[in-house]
């Protein structure tokens, strides 16, 4: 069996076995939930309720503003006690609806379809839009936007991203094992909505049980085993591995005839189109050396990181970092008082020893960063340009093509903060562009 893959990348320690055999556990909703109005890329949703209102579970409480935005729904029934700015896992304060759970789980009326695959493309897209579904792999891009490429774009491939290449995370893995039928249905629905000619699910071979369970429901879907390598699940890397095509620089996947969606997104789409369920719950992995009982949990959005860590048995040892997402691309948190949102794929608690800051030595030009960069960049050059404040030079070396996978910083023997400086360069280049155009 020849495994497909991309050029470059790294083989970090995966630490997946600590939670990959743990079945998804449904957590009861907490007494109070914090539902941010911004859980996606694009403009914030507008609150449709006010303080004191009672809401039903599944009721739309935030209205999408514009096309690149997403609706927000109540995961439980209860009372709105406040609408105010609360800490958010992106590291800023975000306007959020604070909901007191009445414990009744009274659901709003849901529109279900016995045979969802017979629905038209537009009906599927409408159901996905109404359910407020966004990319659940970490980026949080509204799904209906991805399903609406320009009319003349021809989509040859719909790819479901089952690589889950981030170390530690196992949520997608468990969803594919335990909800294989629904994941396959969601894949078919999304592929139909986009009008794709071929449908592929790419899965790394460290998840053989997921490959086997999905094959039972595959039908006309190709289940393709992928080499275990980070960042196999990077959108561009996945497309390259599975189709040999390259997303053009500064372009989007549809420009090379491909649309990629995440496992959690497909599951949410199946629930939305078949059962009329909005996106109010998601599966996340709570793991890391400092977690007592790492595992995978199905939780209402709005549950705090603190409650999630407690559900996993609390912490042990000296906590260094709490990360939303995985260790390669996740965001370090300043507080555990932030809610799980639609794009939260995991909560990772690392020990102080693991997070000790490094003391960089000079670059010895070993070029390992260039040898692992899946975007074929020379990270050491961009880093140097950024340190010197030469933003034009950083751009010339392709800073904007960086996918921020972190392979360069990971591999650097001098422990330099390569990605950190590349991000700085990207920000500077972007803001210079905005200044010029305004």
């Amino acid at each position: 069996m020849k495994k497909k893959t991309f050029w470059g990348g790294i083989h970090p320690e995966y630490h997946k076995q600590v939670s990959s055999e743990t079945s998804i556990q449904l957590l009861p909703a907490p007494e109070q939930l914090v539902i941010p109005l911004q859980q996606h890329v694009g403009s914030s949703a507008k609150p449709m309720v006010k303080k004191g209102d009672t809401v039903l579970a599944g009721q739309r409480i935030g209205e999408a503003q514009g096309f690149v935005s997403a609706h927000v729904h109540a995961p439980v029934s209860g009372t709105v006690v406040a609408i105010e700015a609360r800490p958010h896992s992106h590291g800023k304060m975000v306007q959020s609806i604070i909901l007191d759970n009445d414990g009744e789980e009274t659901w709003t009326d849901l529109e279900s379809h016995a045979d969802p695959i017979q629905l038209s493309r537009d009906q599927i897209k409408q159901a996905v839009t109404a359910a407020g579904i966004v990319g659940m792999g970490g980026a949080g891009f509204p799904t209906h936007v991805k399903l609406s490429p320009p009319a003349d774009a021809e989509i040859d491939y719909f790819i479901l991203n089952g690589s889950e290449c981030e170390p530690f995370l196992t949520a997608d893995h468990r969803m594919m094992v335990e909800f294989a039928a629904d994941v396959a249905l969601g894949t078919r629905l999304l592929a139909k909505a986009i009008g794709a000619k071929r449908v592929i699910i790419g899965i790394e071979t460290n998840k053989m049980d997921a490959i086997q369970s999905l094959r039972k429901h595959a039908g006309n879907i190709d289940i393709v085993p992928l080499a275990v390598k980070y960042p196999q699940g990077g959108e561009k890397q996945l497309i390259k591995a599975l189709t040999g095509r390259e997303v053009p620089s500064n372009g989007l996947p549809y420009e090379c005839g491909v649309v990629v969606q995440n496992v959690g997104t497909a599951l949410a789409a199946a629930h939305a189109v078949r059962d009329g369920l909005p996106l109010t719950h998601r599966v996340i992995t709570v793991t890391g050396e400092c977690v007592q009982r790492p595992g995978n949990f199905l939780v209402p959005i709005g549950t705090s990181f603190q409650q999630m860590i407690e559900a996993a048995g609390g912490t042990k040892g000296t906590v260094g970092k709490v990360i939303s997402g995985g260790p390669m691309m996740g965001t370090a948190q300043i507080t555990t008082d932030v809610p799980v949102i639609k794009e939260t794929s995991g909560i990772l608690v690392l020990s102080q020893e693991q997070c000790a800051p490094t003391h960089p030595l000079a670059c010895i030009k070993c070029s390992r960063c260039g040898d692992v960069c899946p975007a074929y960049l020379l990270p050491m050059r961009i880093e140097r340009a950024a340190i010197l404040g030469r933003w034009d030079e950083a751009e010339d070396y392709g800073a904007m093509d960086c996918i921020e996978c972190g392979c360069c910083s990971y591999i650097c023997p001098s422990k330099r903060y390569l990605l950190h400086y590349i991000r700085l360069a990207k920000n500077q280049i972007m803001s210079a562009k905005q200044t010029r155009s305004s």
Binding site: R245, Q333, L361, A362, I364, K365, C366, G370, Y410
Partner: protein, 306 residues
């Protein structure tokens, strides 16, 4: 969990376990069989010169860092590597004070004036060697036979066909301390390759070019690559990370360039050996090679009708 101070830093949050110190240590370990062979062939002179060179390089590093007001950097191991390389690339009869002076020049002029580790455009050990070769031409070209120490000519001076290949391979010939035993050098090279600190592109480009050119020009390629410093340089000098191109294509071109210059100097030049200056010249060309060989960025120049 009691609210404790959480560490905030940007991703990635995990790092590989390899480090620059470990890379330097790997080179030191790789040099041990080479040093061992030189002790076997040349006795205590090999101990004396390598220890003096290594000690002088490390002390010079410490002093220059302090003069520049920078923290001590001797723990990164790079000065130790430079000193050992220099010590192993001089003749066994060289007076100790000369190799000490060479080590000071290597670290001072070859490395520290540019800003220390990672900033030197030229290979420091070769800067030291070039300094010694040009300053002390006679002691630097006075060779001793292995075991008995009687002065004798190197195989390169004698010409091909005089010394059997087996002597060239095992190293029982006159020459610089660490450069005679092809066997020990190959062991070191394999170890470094296995440990991921040696990029095969540079030695491959270098050796293939030298062999090809020598063959085409009617010389014995096997004799040439096994005599003089070619094998030693192929494993330890052209693979120097700091002074060679960062692009993959560039590293091949760099190796080819060294091969061409070595061949030209050996066949037509006035020097006994061309490797030192061939590498220093290609070091100078490295920034240009880097600029010419930038890799295609993912997604650039793709045709959409795939």
């Amino acid at each position: 969990m009691e609210q404790q101070q959480l560490i905030l830093a940007s991703s990635p949050h995990v790092r590989d376990t390899d480090s620059t110190q470990k890379i330097m240590l790997t080179v030191v370990v790789a040099l041990l069989p080479v040093w061992g062979a030189s002790i076997y062939f040349f006795g205590l002179d090999a101990v004396r010169l390598v220890l003096w060179a290594a000690a002088a390089a490390v002390v010079a590093e410490a002093i220059f860092q302090r003069l520049r007001g920078k923290p001590s950097s001797t723990h990164d191991g790079s000065a130790l590597v430079t000193g050992m390389l220099l010590g192993l690339s001089v003749p066994p009869t060289l007076p100790s004070w000369m190799v000490v002076l060479g080590a000071i020049v290597a670290i001072g002029l070859g490395k520290q004036v540019f800003g220390g580790l990672g900033h030197n455009p030229f290979n420091p050990a070769l800067v030291g060697r070039a300094f010694l070769t040009t300053s002390f031409a006679v002691p630097m070209t006075t060779w001793a036979r292995p075991f008995d120490g009687i002065s004798g000519a190197t195989p390169l001076a004698l010409g091909s066909g005089v010394v059997p290949y087996s002597d060239l391979f095992f190293g029982s010939i006159a020459g610089s301390l660490g450069e005679t035993s092809v066997l020990a050098i190959l062991l070191a090279g394999i170890f470094m390759f296995y440990r991921g600190v040696l990029d095969f592109r540079m030695p491959l480009g270098f050796l293939a070019t030298t062999i090809g050119l020598m063959f085409v020009l009617g010389h014995d390629p096997l004799f040439h690559i096994m005599s003089g410093s070619i094998m030693f340089a192929a494993v330890f000098m052209v693979t120097c990370m700091v002074t060679t191109p960062v692009t993959r294509r560039g590293r091949v071109i760099y190796g080819i360039g060294v091969g061409i210059i070595v061949t030209v100097i050996r066949l037509w030049g006035n020097l006994p050996e061309g490797v030192t200056f061939a590498i220093l010249l290609m070091n100078a060309a490295t920034p240009l090679i880097n600029r010419w060989t930038r890799p295609r960025i993912f997604g650039q120049g793709v045709t959409l009708d795939a």
